[in-house]
Amino acid sequence: MSSEPIVDVLNLRVSFWARRGEVKAVDDVSLQVKKGEIMGLAGESGCGKSTTGLALMRLIKPPGEIKDGRIIFDGGTDILSLSEEELRSFRWRKISMVFQGAMNSLNPVMTIGSQIAEAISAHESVEGKDMEERVAKLLEQVGVDASRSKDYPHEFSGGMRQRAVIAMALALSPELLIADEPTTALDVVVQRQILDLMIDMQKRLNLSMMFITHDLVALSEFSDKVSIMYAGRIAEVAPTSELYESPLHPYTQGLLESLQGIATPGKKLWSIPGAPPDLAAVPKGCRFRPRCRYAFDRCVVEEPELLSPKEGRSVACHLVNK
């Protein structure tokens, strides 16, 4: 792993225009994925983690809008300033994505092989025998027998469909892979298989990966670094082992307490009171304040910035960054 960033997101803002007003899904987010690293982006439903992923791919569609920020790829290009033309040669080749629920959006009347081939031919002129070989190699790489390329999606099990989706995302050898909840709808054992596969691929291809998930437990097993999002903002960033040993943000602490408590039956579980705020009406000051057990007067008036109290750690909390 080198220390150069493959992608550097700076002050990103993404909003959706709804009837009830502007929903600030991503509200001034800065984060970084280093080359060869697995960065876990974790948070609860509606915290803006998927929207962040989609913004990196420039796939925010109206009524959504990228309002502000820069996304610097590999120290050079700002993804947000690319023209549509430039974007076509950039997307999927440099950054690609495994979408949430993609395994259920495969085209049911097209064979798996031809769907992968289609993804390739949209960007490269590969034909006939060469294409067949390329598809076969991709399928083998994700643990699917190449002879199954003539099968339709319904002939594949859930796990195999997810493998096919991963093969598609890797078809043009991207440098950064964004995986949005790639194991969420799968059963435990299959989930384990897919996780093992993705980590193996990441190592073999020396991929950089942004792993978006709500599952902090799974993330603890394989990520290098974790960024915790809450209500459209980054609450905390830390190397994985440090985050789980000594979480700094009260939100992270609460999440981990709930998770660890469940492993010890008989004891009452710690739970964070309340629910995340409506992103169209975020409270003033710290957005976690209404649920925070340590909140004090400063938290009511001033939004905490993401600061670094010590080497390698960042946290947005007035209590820590005093």
Binding site: E44, V188, S220, A275
Partner: protein
């Protein structure tokens, strides 16, 4: 209190136009037995297609079994009708997985939670209904008064699931069949709902049949658990024993595959294959195609669920080997 013996639920499938084709069926539940004592919580654990939800639906009398029996305090659930059935519905309630779908989007909370009260003539006037519903909502931690006339879309997932709980306890039931009640909730609210369910169990002397795919939730909630696979119970016993020392190779695989905090450990049975279709169930032990320890006998003979030690039962020909 509840006794399930050799229960079968097969759903017929019509796929072929050939009149002479063999009739096929989905064997959702394929011969299972278990007991549930008063004030006990048992977790029914399994992956999708294991038959855990169907089992719960039979207990809640939402699905009719095709064989075997399920008795509630000596009375056969299958044969209940008329006033007996009405009484049963009052004593046994069900909670569903999806709080977004199990509440009527067009009814105010007071009417949703109040419905069972009206059906069972437990309240007479509108005012009485409002009072009882507010005290029920109070018990599930939804005490702000304005919630009575809110609609489901104005509530968060956790609040909705609390409303479902209030509705389920409205009739003072003895048993609640809870089908994945927290699987759609975020971690930060899940803990609160689990706590609440445990508190209510103690306060109201409730039993739960707690259906979940999540071993950690099962471990937290149930003193006993049953692990299901393709319509059969593979392992049954005290939760603490099963989660600390799983005996059935499938339970071993399941536990091993469940993520834990910290770097991943290596070794073990590994994660092999996927759950097959419950139409074409493998012969012999239905887990044998995925089992790393399978031998000839596993391919031909169905292993019965047998008692190994104490209250711990396992359906594996080679169970002793793993003790």
């Amino acid at each position: 209190m509840l006794s399930v013996k050799d229960l079968y639920v097969h759903f017929p499938v019509s796929r072929s136009l050939n009149l002479f084709a063999k009739k096929r069926s989905v064997k959702a539940v394929d011969g299972i037995s278990f007991d549930l004592a008063k004030e006990e919580t048992m977790a029914l654990v399994g992956e999708s297609g294991s038959g855990k939800t169907t089992t719960g639906r039979v207990i809640a009398k939402l699905t009719q079994p095709t064989g075997g029996s399920a008795e509630f305090e000596g009375a056969d659930i299958r044969k209940l009708n008329g006033s007996e059935l009405k009484d049963y519905r009052k004593r046994v309630q069900m909670m569903f997985q999806d709080p977004y779908e199990s509440l009527n989007p067009r009814a105010a909370i007071v009417d949703q939670v109040g419905l069972p009260l009206v059906v069972f003539s437990m309240v007479k006037t509108r005012q009485e209904k409002e009072d009882v519903v507010s005290s029920l909502l109070d018990k599930v931690g939804l005490s702000h008064g304005d919630i009575l006339y809110k609609y489901p879309h104005q509530l968060s997932g956790g609040e909705r699931q609390r409303v479902s709980i209030a509705r389920a306890i409205a009739t003072n039931p003895e048993l609640i069949v809870a089908d994945e009640p927290v699987s759609m909730l975020d971690v930060s609210v899940r803990a609160g709902v689990l706590n609440l369910m445990q508190e209510l169990a103690t306060t109201y002397h409730l039993s739960y049949l707690f259906i979940t795919h999540d071993l950690s939730v099962a471990k937290y909630m149930g003193r006993r658990m049953a692990v299901m696979y393709l319509g059969k119970v593979f392992e049954l016993g005290p939760t603490a024993d099963i989660t600390s020392k799983p005996i059935h190779p499938y339970t071993q695989m399941l536990l091993e595959a469940t993520p834990k905090i910290g770097p991943k450990s290596v070794g073990g049975v590994g994660a092999r294959g996927e759950i097959p279709s419950s139409i074409d169930v493998p012969p012999g032990c239905r887990f044998h195609p995925r089992c790393p320890y399978a031998t000839d006998i596993c391919e031909s003979e169905i292993p019965p669920l047998r008692n190994l030690m104490g209250a711990h039962s396992v359906a594996c020909h080679w169970a002793e080997k793993f003790v």
